[in-house]
């Protein structure tokens, strides 16, 4: 029966037991498989037995090593544990420690990993021991490891030399029944004896120390020759045809194999527990007795190399034993059986297991590779990183997150800390060639503390630019949840000093640091993209993003508080065991396709100009093509670029990010640059916009040369009709010419575009008023088959303002008209303008330019309610117009019939309605007065139709009555458009009206149905709305303005043209709503590589497409269409790219949730593009 002291423990626990049983005072370690369980077991024994032993998780192996080493200088017994590659990190210290030696016992435990199972190499610590010249013990079992440690301490103290214990993984992670021996208490007080010649030996002394070391090793080898507890022979005999030398774990394997083969008694085994320094005498004596000797050891031929006469030896050097990989029982059995047969020793036949293994292999079962745990925040981070940088390079590091390899986001994994050094090296290598690629290094928090910081310092110092993502789960998860310095918890659970990664990063000189929650996948994508842009900025540099979320496997309760339970909605099962797309179960109507859509700017434009299209051309510097595209719809870009109310900019999607694209400015640039000599615009093919169509029968009279009349004239000339424009005023252009300030629309711009209409062959009859002397009937009689009334709205409507008839009172249009026609305007020293529209402002600013000393503008509401353009209001203020808001004029004061001022009262406004409108509730007293010699009013204007008598039908509002669909009046052949129909509206509406009327006239003249299919003309409501989630704000183009001092007395245009670079930059802010602009994002994002590009188009290979919709979700312009099915189509994205172990594909091809492992993290919701995974309300 089991005695009380017997326990089944893990090899590492047996080692821990050996450490405490040896009376060790000081133990340090850095976790690493297969060594990690030693320290926790030491802590457990410490607590169970109230031991004084100091225990620490050090920040890396070198740190652990040196802490423990120097503690041994004080006379204490110390030990350090790590994995074999950890000893590489401490190698510098080890080499020196061998020479200088120790005082108290110092034992190094370095766990090897033949296989390798969890390591970068299969390196053999015994070689490291030989290299460093320190003794090494090689245990064959947990029990022996436990027993060797007291020996190791004794030896270390006796010879003042470090001693290595190297268990292999099959010892560290073996379970075995061991006996718990009593724990020794060794009394030692720290007593560091100063001895600089030894502790800080110079090279001269090192030579002496080396000599001493060699002497020590010689003596130890002698001792090992006689150390029968560790080096002994099983079934020794005088003579044997076949003997085996077995080191460490190989001894246990050989014992079992010989037992099974029934050869235990036949074949002697020399067991070597101390391979260095080599017990040569003992080994050579054994070889002497045998005819043939097989050497078995893990992993390298350390014993074999040290045997001088190899004539009898079978082993790795002659190829008998494989030179790599773990030594498994079947391999050992095979080697021994084969040699026995060779030496005529009878061995039983071993039934091979290969037929069965082959049958299973033929089933093609999925290889179950390790994956990140369900709910792991690293998965969310990697998913975000891959989405953000589909073509990035991803150096990574050692830890759980190395499994990001499954998600295609780990390109390198070298050694601790190499993510950062590799990233900086990669950056410099590319940078040298003038290339910049996104480089995203990922490193865990523990690894960052281990050896990340030196690489980061170096990267900052040498100017590398990449993104470092520190995956901070606040624990060393892979090796079994050891605390990190951040936690402030020490190895034995005592509170320490918590460290801050942020402080460390900043201390490394990093200027850009953001902390994100990777569970917010979208937020993380946004942040890492921002970080990338920072690395590309001239003033930018290294960017560090800390993705912080606790290890979900360690902190299971994290999600229990707020679980996100999901389920999968399924379609009927597919016919074959294939994704629905490939099985054809998805109708072809649901396949992804490219389809351009109407952009909001175009849809909102009354004349449907393709703003997105010409902006894209501007962005590419193709100005001439851009202008041609504008002119396909709009022959007056110069005027439009100045006067248009810009409905396009009001709906511009960019405005939801920061500010709308300056569409009018871009258009103005195109129009104006065409005439400048150095212009890149208009060098070739303007698209025939300025040539009339083939002459047609049909004469059209257009009354009025404003925007509606000009537009109709242009369109009708393009169709080939004869056009005569009758203009009452001495100059053409309507309110563009006489109702708009010159500094907003220069005369030459206006005339240039009017000249286009003239050049097209339209006849202009100026100073020709139709009405009294020349009636509509007269025009008919002159052979005009169709007449378009486009008289505008120039007649001020009577307003209810006392004193308005005084001399020195004028309405704004009349005022501007006088200026345009160079007429006398009377005294103009103190001017009061009433009203807040563009024309009122134009009047005020014109008055200033004409020399007014003071211009005061009274507006009856607040500033933000002013209908004029905000930028114009701003300029008016800068020019010196004084604004008096909430001022309601009550009377124009006059003296001798001459205006002398205005009295007004302050308005009390209602709360704004949902549309932002207010009402004037009352007027406050007292009444105030302002002096003026000119008062400019802003009445409502209506068309002046009295001249036509009853021949033109009117509405109740005094406008021309038309069929809104065709703009035809009730009178045969008479049409109307522009402000005469709509009342005062923006210029662009008039253009649209002119165009509409022209089409009606064309149909009328050709005898077609005027009304057919007219509903879709004008603005379009069906607009695409692109995602702006990932668009970063970028400031709008800065307008250049005429300096203030140059404006006084001058009508030079205030808004100047920006430079070409600024214009291109502005065009590049366009989001290309609904139109592909060859950004390649769909192509690089497609996880299946199903999208390819030829020229300016993309092809989707539907054979490869799985229907994951990543292209649709990523397309920044919403050009790719594929409606979400709202159910799982078994595309496999969640299995492959998201790679959650709790999402599994059943045999029916369906994706299922494995409830056993699902932790309700809900992250897969963000991964599924089909809406197949949905949140279940609890």
């Amino acid at each position: 029966m089991a005695s009380k002291e017997e326990k089944v423990v893990l090899g590492n626990e047996a080692i821990a037991r050996g450490i405490v049983e040896s009376g060790c005072h000081f133990f340090a370690a850095y976790p690493g498989t297969p060594s990690s369980e030693i320290l926790p077991a030491v802590v457990r024994f410490k607590k169970e037995n109230n031991l004084e032993i100091y225990v620490e998780w050090s920040t890396n192996e070198k740190v652990a090593f040196e802490n423990a080493l120097v503690a041994s200088y004080t006379g204490k017994r110390t030990a350090v544990a790590m994995k074999q590659v950890g000893l590489n990190v401490a190698a510098d210290s080890l080499m020196s420690a061998a020479y200088i030696g120790t005082i108290g016992g110092f034992v190094i435990i370095s766990c090897d990993d033949p296989g390798p199972h969890s390591s970068q190499t299969e390196q053999d610590t015994r070689f490291m021991a030989m290299f460093a010249k320190v003794p090494v013990f090689d245990p064959s079992s947990p029990r022996e490891a436990q027993e060797m440690i007291p020996f190791a301490f004794e030896l270390s103290e006796k010879y003042q030399i470090p001693v290595i214990l190297r268990p292999v993984m099959r010892v560290s992670h073996a379970q075995q029944t061991i006996t718990f021996n009593p724990i020794r208490r060794v009394e030692r007080k720290a007593n560091f004896q100063r001895n600089p010649q030894r502790w800080s030996a110079t090279p001269r002394f090192r030579l002496i120390l080396h000599k001493q070391l060699n002497a020590k090793l010689k003596n130890i080898a002698e001792e090992f020759n006689a150390l029968v507890a560790l080096n002994f022979i099983d079934h020794d005999r005088q003579k044997a045809s076949f003997g085996i030398i077995a080191g460490g774990i190989a001894y246990a394997m050989v014992r079992d194999t010989l037992s099974e083969l029934g050869l235990k008694e036949e074949i002697p085994i020399l067991k070597i527990g101390t391979p260095f320094p080599f017990p040569a005498e003992m080994v050579e004596a054994f070889i002497e007795k045998c005819d043939h000797v097989l050497v078995l050891e893990e992993t390298e031929p350390v014993i074999e190399f040290q045997i001088r006469d190899k004539s009898k030896i079978y082993g790795r050097l002659d190829g008998t034993v494989p030179s790599e990989g773990e030594m498994l029982p079947e391999i050992v059995t095979q080697i021994i059986s084969a040699l026995c047969k060779q030496f005529s020793i009878t061995v039983p036949e071993i039934t091979p297991t290969t037929p069965l293994e082959k049958m299973v292999a033929d089933l093609g079962l999925p290889i179950r590779r390790p994956t990140l745990c369900s709910g792991c925040a690293h998965r969310a981070s990697f998913f975000a990183l891959k989405r953000a940088f589909p073509t990035g390079i991803f150096p990574s590091d050692i830890g759980c997150y190395t499994l990001g390899m499954n998600m295609d986001t780990v390109d390198t994994c070298h050694d601790m800390g190499a993510a950062i050094t590799f990233a900086s090296g990669l950056y410099q290598a590319y940078h040298q060639d003038g290339k910049e690629v996104p480089i995203i290094a990922t490193i865990g928090d523990s690894t960052f503390y281990h050896s990340g910081a030196p690489g980061l310092l170096n990267a900052v110092y040498n100017g590398a630019r990449f993104i470092l993502v520190i995956l901070d789960n606040s624990i060393t998860a892979m090796t079994g949840m050891q605390p990190t310095p951040e936690s402030g918890t020490t190895a034995d659970g005592h509170p320490g000093q918590p460290l801050s990664i942020e402080e460390l990063v900043k201390g490394c000189g990093v200027k850009y640091l953001r902390v994100v929650n990777p569970y917010d996948i979208r937020g993380m994508i946004r942040e890492v993209k921002k970080a990338y842009r920072y690395t590309r900025k001239p003033e930018g540099g290294m960017a560090v993003v800390i993705a912080r979320y606790p290890c979900i496997t360690y902190q299971k309760e994290q999600l229990k508080a707020d679980p996100t339970r999901v389920d999968i909605r399924h379609l009927p099962p597919p016919e074959k065991d294939l994704p629905q797309m490939k099985s054809g179960a998805i109708p072809s109507s649901l396949l992804p396709v490219y389809r351009d859509k109407i952009a909001p700017c175009q849809g909102a434009c009354p004349i449907q100009v393709d703003a997105r299209g010409y902006i894209a051309l501007i962005a590419k510097g193709r100005f001439d093509e851009a202008l041609a595209l504008v002119r396909q719809k709009n022959p007056f870009p110069g005027i439009t670029g100045r006067l248009c109310a810009r409905p396009c900019e009001k709906v511009c999607r960019r405005g939801d990010v920061d500010e709308p694209i300056a569409i009018d400015l871009l258009k103005r640039y195109l129009a104006d640059m065409e005439i400048s000599l150095s212009s890149p615009v208009g060098k070739e093919g303007a698209g025939g916009y300025d040539t009339p169509g083939p002459e047609k029968e049909g004469k059209v009279a257009i009354i009025g040369s404003g925007p509606a009349g000009l537009m109709a004239a242009y369109d009708l000339r393009r169709l080939g009709y004869q056009v005569t424009i009758f203009e009452a005023l001495p100059l053409p252009g309507g309110t563009m010419a006489v109702g708009t300030a010159r500094f907003r629309l220069p005369e030459e711009v206006l005339n240039r575009e009017i000249d286009l209409v003239k050049k097209m062959g339209a006849e202009f009859r100026l100073n020709t008023r139709v009405g009294d002397h020349l009636s509509l009937d007269d025009l008919r009689a002159q052979g005009y088959q169709a007449i378009l009334l486009a008289p505008g709205a120039h007649k001020p409507k009577e307003q209810d303002l006392a004193g308005q008839d005084a001399f020195g009172v004028i309405d704004s249009l009349s005022f501007l008209k006088k200026e345009a026609l160079n007429q006398e305007k009377g005294p103009l020293s103190r001017v009061i303008v009433l009203g807040g529209n563009d024309r009122a402002l134009d009047s005020a600013r014109t008055a200033l330019r004409l020399g007014a000393r003071e211009v005061i503008l009274l507006f009856n509401r607040s500033k933000k309610e002013m209908p004029a353009e905000p930028s114009e209001i701003e300029e008016a203020e800068r020019e010196g117009v004084v604004f008096q808001f909430l001022a309601v004029a009550t009377k124009i004061i006059s003296s001798d019939g001459k205006a002398t001022g205005v009295s007004f009262r302050e308005a009390v406004l209602s709360q704004p309605t949902s549309l932002g409108r207010t009402k004037i509730l009352s007027l406050r007293r007292p009444e105030k007065k302002l002096k003026a010699d000119l008062v400019i009013t802003s009445p409502v204007y209506v068309p002046g139709l009295s001249d036509f008598g009853g021949s033109v039908a009117q509405t109740a509002w005094g406008t021309i009555h038309v069929d809104p669909l065709t703009l035809a009046t009730p009178r045969e052949g008479l049409f109307a458009a522009g402000d005469g129909v709509t009342g005062p509206k923006n210029f662009i509406e008039a253009l649209a009206g002119g165009r509409k009327a022209a089409l009606s006239i064309h149909r009328y003249l050709s005898g077609e149905d005027m009304r057919m299919n007219r509903e879709t003309e004008g603005t379009s409501g069906e607009l695409v709305s692109v995602s702006i989630e990932q668009v970063d704000p970028q400031s709008k183009i800065e307008e250049t303005l005429l300096p203030l001092e140059e404006r006084r007395g001058s009508f030079t245009e205030v808004h100047l043209l920006p430079g070409e670079d600024a214009v291109i930059a502005e065009a590049k802010r366009c989001l290309h709503c609904g139109a592909c602009h060859q950004c390649d994002i769909c192509m690089v994002q497609c996880p299946e590589g199903a999208i390819s590009r030829t020229g300016e188009t993309y092809l989707i290979d539907y054979e490869k497409c799985t229907g994951c919709r990543v292209c649709v979700l990523e397309c920044p312009t919403s050009t790719i269409e594929m409606p979400a099915v709202g159910a799982c189509i078994a595309c496999g994205l969640c299995l492959k790219r998201f790679e959650c172990p709790s999402l599994i594909r059943g045999e029916d091809g369906r994706v299922k949730i494995d409830r056993l492992t699902c932790v309700d993290c809900g992250l897969c919701l963000a991964a599924c593009g089909q809406g197949g995974i949905y949140k279940v309300s609890s």
Partner: protein
């Protein structure tokens, strides 16, 4: 029951296979505890580190006079597998029958008793290797603890006359090894597995 005959001598080699997170290590601990209490030496080997993250997990356990921690292919007396694909991958560890000694016994958690390919089933049968399949996860889920699939499978196996561990003694080991929070439910699931095993497994030939 040749392995657990008179005078308490026992030499059993076991393989426990499954997927990381299924509780393979707990199964090992139960049998280790059993052996320790019965005074048999134990040696075995576990998977730690990377493979715990959802990869294939295989544990070797040898009770009796053994030195090495690994079980040689074709040498296992018992295979307990918590997942059918992992079962497939570890079937070759089972020992074929030799004259006088029965072949290995495999107990597999799988939803479908007929999942195993005919060809493989026959191959095993010809070599005297017996496979018993049991939907342990379903039973465990029904009982309210899907995490106890491992316990249900051991309960099922303990009903087999050729299984070398006594049901009652295993029950005591489970009582000692499982955390107190799950103890009562674990034992209920263990007993339920045992009852199901009795129904499913033919009694030992006289």
């Amino acid at each position: 029951m040749d392995q657990q005959s008179e005078s308490g001598r026992m030499n059993i080699q076991m393989i426990i296979s499954g997927v990381g997170g299924q509780g393979v290590l707990l199964v090992t601990r139960i049998f280790s505890d059993f052996a320790l209490k019965e005074g048999y030496p134990v040696i075995g080997s576990e998977d730690h580190g990377m493979s715990q993250r959802g990869g294939s997990v295989i544990t070797y356990l040898k009770i009796g006079q053994f030195d090495g921690p690994l079980v040689k292919k074709g040498n296992a007396d018992i295979l307990l597998s918590l997942e059918k694909n992992e079962a497939y991958k570890t079937l070759h560890f089972l020992k074929p029958a030799t004259s006088g000694r029965r072949g290995g016994l495999g107990f597999i958690n799988a939803p479908d008793a007929g999942f195993m390919k005919e060809e493989i089933r026959n191959y095993l049968k010809e070599r005297g290797i017996e496979i018993d399949i049991f939907p342990a996860d379903r039973v465990a889920r029904e009982m309210g603890s899907i995490q106890s699939t491992n316990i249900a499978l051991i309960g099922f196996a303990s009903a087999h006359p050729g299984f070398p561990f006594l049901h009652e003694k295993l029950r005591q080991s489970i009582e000692r090894v499982t955390p107190s929070k799950f103890r009562e439910l674990s034992l209920k699931i263990f007993d339920r597995g045992f009852i199901e095993g009795h129904k499913a497994i033919p009694p030992a030939l006289p």
